[in-house]
């Protein structure tokens, strides 16, 4: 905690008043001597006016102009009351601590802002643009057009997304992915904005406008995240609206008691009223609960996890079950062809591969890409397939070299699937079957490795009492193998995209809340139907960002387990803070009503509780350790 900033925020006037206040306390309670009353009043009054004149001015302006009793007005009223009772140190103290509380709120806001501003610092202030004559000029980010050529110097952050024109570049992507190791980007790859150029000068051709660049999308995400409030936060807001008028009314009622009861001592009941007035601000609640969630979001962002709202932290904290996608989520997602088998004499293995590659040529599915790559690696000239037709969930059909080819699942080729797997490695094998002119010709085996940390991560999640379920489009045998290696409670296999959503709904009926974790490529529907949707992947995947509630930028399952833990700690912190503040305030109110509380206790109940709850709330900023 940066003490000197805080003291600077207070200013010399408040510090002077603190000294006077301490002296008056000493005089009243500890000193064996006394000074004349008028001297005490003068001392207190001077110090008071020094720090209170703006507060009093604002108080009456808001009352006259806006017909509202602002917090400043209530504080002014309380201090006037205390002066009337000749409680000079108390009167001064209320104002002093009110100012301290204000300074503290400003400080807390600065800390929260600072947490975000480290990302905000990556917002580019100017861009080095090369014009047609290769002369470099600095322009504002919003003036740069798509297609412009820009330079990023060593150590600078990339201002806009762009295609790399150099052969290679070393880029520090930690702000977008949480990865500490710099990543290599090669020619023609798109370098996202916000990353820092680790190496020498690079040249990029801009692909998006400033408003649509990766860094702006990330910043906007964080900003909009604040709008998605959790249940406690919405409750606090509504509570705060009626708390103040309630307490202030009670204060007035208490002050009027002596008018009706002869035995009541005026000073006693006025003190009780003042206690109520001083505690009438719910600021501690209104500030500390959102701050706890905010700190949690900040800690999560340090791990490379973006949460689109504190309501999702709440859901993650209460999570009972996670449903996982397989490819790209539990597995690395990049396939390799490991075996090609031909069952027909007149068709060679290479031809099987060639036919399959021709059909899969335009597909973006990882399996398709691996088949095409395998063909290229073997030097097989990529053929052109015509009349290519995609049969959803089954496979592709088309014509290659005047031959009718079908590529896909066993069902598609109309044969039985006899794949047995004696695989004890972390590998899951997929078989892609090929038929030539309606005859079953052979198959290609493609394997995808499970993420090395998957087992450990799922075990961690299990120990948190959260069920783990696999929902996969893969064959039953493949799913069974995964279940043998990873700690999963249930496995659904051969599920098509529509069924995925239904299965999720079914699971939600048994346990709630349920999360879905996928890589976002074709999981948009399921992601939005889960209680909380978690997407794996770079900030570049637009579909993932739109559909998901939580984004794991580095795709690590261990990070997911850590994130769940942080979510729980954050939620518990917010709730415990809430309860603590409520209890203290109610306790002091009761004591005040009964006449056992003095103004010092009230000040603690207001400013003391504020400082305590805010410091407690900010602990969540460090939860990533």
């Amino acid at each position: 905690m940066k003490m000197h900033y805080f003291i600077k925020e207070l200013g010399w006037k408040v510090l002077f008043s603190i000294v006077v206040m301490l002296f008056l306390i000493y005089l009243k309670y500890l000193a064996p001597f006394n000074i004349p009353l008028y001297l005490e009043a003068l001392l207190a009054g001077t110090a008071y006016l020094l720090i209170a004149h703006k507060v009093i001015k604002d108080a009456f302006w808001t009352l006259m102009k806006r017909h509202r009793m602002s917090e400043q007005f209530l504080m002014t009223l309380a201090t006037f009351g205390a002066f009337m009772l000749k409680d000079f140190p108390e009167a001064l103290a209320v104002m002093v601590f009110y100012r301290v509380g204000q300074a503290f709120e400003e400080y807390a806001r600065g800390e929260a802002h600072h947490n975000i501003s480290s990302i905000l610092n990556l917002k580019p202030k100017n861009v080095h643009v090369l014009n047609d004559e290769n002369i470099m000029r600095d322009v504002l980010p919003k003036q740069v057009k798509i297609g412009d050529i820009i330079r990023v110097l060593k150590g600078e952050s990339v201002p806009l997304d762009g295609v790399l024109l150099d052969d290679c570049a070393a880029i520090d992507t930690s702000v977008l992915t949480g990865e500490s190791e710099p990543r290599s980007y090669f020619k023609d790859q798109v370098v996202p904005s916000g990353c820092i150029n680790f190496g020498e000068v690079i040249t990029l051709k801009v692909t998006t406008t400033y408003k649509n660049s990766s860094i702006m999308r990330l910043l906007n995400l964080i900003e909009d995240a604040a709008a998605n409030k959790s249940v406690p936060e919405t409750l606090i807001r509504r509570f705060a609206i009626f708390y103040t008028p309630c307490v202030v009314t009670c204060a007035f009622v208490l002050a009027l008691v002596p008018l009706f009861f002869r035995d009541a001592l005026f000073s006693d009941w006025l003190t009780r009223a003042l206690v109520f007035l001083v505690i009438s601000c719910p600021c501690a609640l209104v500030l500390s609960v959102p701050l706890s969630f905010f700190g949690g979001m900040g800690a999560l962002s340090k791990l490379g996890v973006i949460v689109k709202g504190s309501v999702h932290i709440e859901t993650l904290a209460k999570l009972k079950e996670i449903a996982f996608d397989k490819t790209g989520t539990l597995t690395i997602g990049s396939f390799k062809v490991t075996r090609i088998v031909s069952l027909l004499d007149f068709v060679s293995e290479n031809e099987i591969l060639r036919y399959a590659a021709a059909l899969e040529h335009n597909s973006t599915h990882p399996v398709a890409i691996s088949i095409v790559n395998a063909a290229l690696e073997r030097g097989l000239h990529p053929d052109v397939a015509t009349m290519v037709c995609e049969h959803s969930g089954l496979g592709l059909s088309g014509i290659v070299d005047e031959v009718k080819v079908k590529v896909g699942s066993a069902r598609f080729i109309n044969i039985e699937d006899h794949l047995t797997n004696n695989n004890t490695n972390n590998e899951t094998i997929n078989r892609i079957y090929v038929s030539v002119n309606e005859r079953y010709a052979g198959y290609i085996e493609v394997c995808d490795a499970l993420k090395p940390s998957a087992s450990e991560a799922l075990e961690n999640i299990r120990s948190m009492g959260i069920s783990r379920v696999l929902i996969s489009g893969d064959r039953k045998e493949v799913a069974k193998i995964v279940q043998e290696i990873l700690p999963l409670d249930k496995v659904y296999a051969e599920v098509n995209p529509l069924e995925k959503k239904e299965i999720l709904q079914k699971e939600r009926e048994h346990k709630s809340p349920v999360a879905f974790c996928g890589d976002g490529i074709n999981d948009a529907l399921v992601l939005s139907s889960a209680d909380v949707g978690i997407a794996m992947g770079d900030i570049g995947s637009a579909t993932a960002i739109e559909a998901a509630d939580v984004i794991l930028l580095n795709g690590s399952l261990i990070t997911l387990a850590k994130a769940l833990l942080i979510a729980r700690r954050t939620y518990n912190l917010a709730m415990s803070n809430l309860v603590m503040v409520m209890l203290i305030k109610v306790l002091i109110l009761i004591m005040g009503a009964l006449g056992i509380a003095n103004i010092w206790l009230a000040i603690f109940g207001d400013v003391g509780v504020l400082i305590l709850s805010v410091i407690n709330a900010m602990r969540s900023l460090h939860f990533y350790k």
């Binding site: 604002d58 602002s70 917090e71 806001r109 909009d224 719910p282 209104v286 959102p290």
Partner: protein, 72 residues
């Protein structure tokens, strides 16, 4: 269309909440983040300067000393 602005000068989170509801009444969808000092408004008004002017007038009527700027 979302208009993003930086807002400064609100002391108390309670007041921030009150100002936010005033903005919501005017613009339909508005979000004031006290900790970040940001005001984001989702409105059909095309002109960003007009939105800023409206927001400023609401803020000035509410309390003294609030400043709002367009985020560039």
């Amino acid at each position: 269309m979302k208009v993003r602005m930086d807002i400064d000068g609100i002391d108390c989170p309670h007041c921030a909440a009150k100002l936010e509801s005033l903005m919501q009444k005017e613009f339909g969808d508005a979000n004031l983040n006290f900790a970040m000092g940001s005001l984001v408004v989702d409105t059909t008004i095309e002109d960003e300067e007009a939105v800023l002017e409206k927001a400023l007038s609401i803020a000035r009527n509410f309390e003294d000393g609030i400043s709002i700027e367009l985020r560039d």
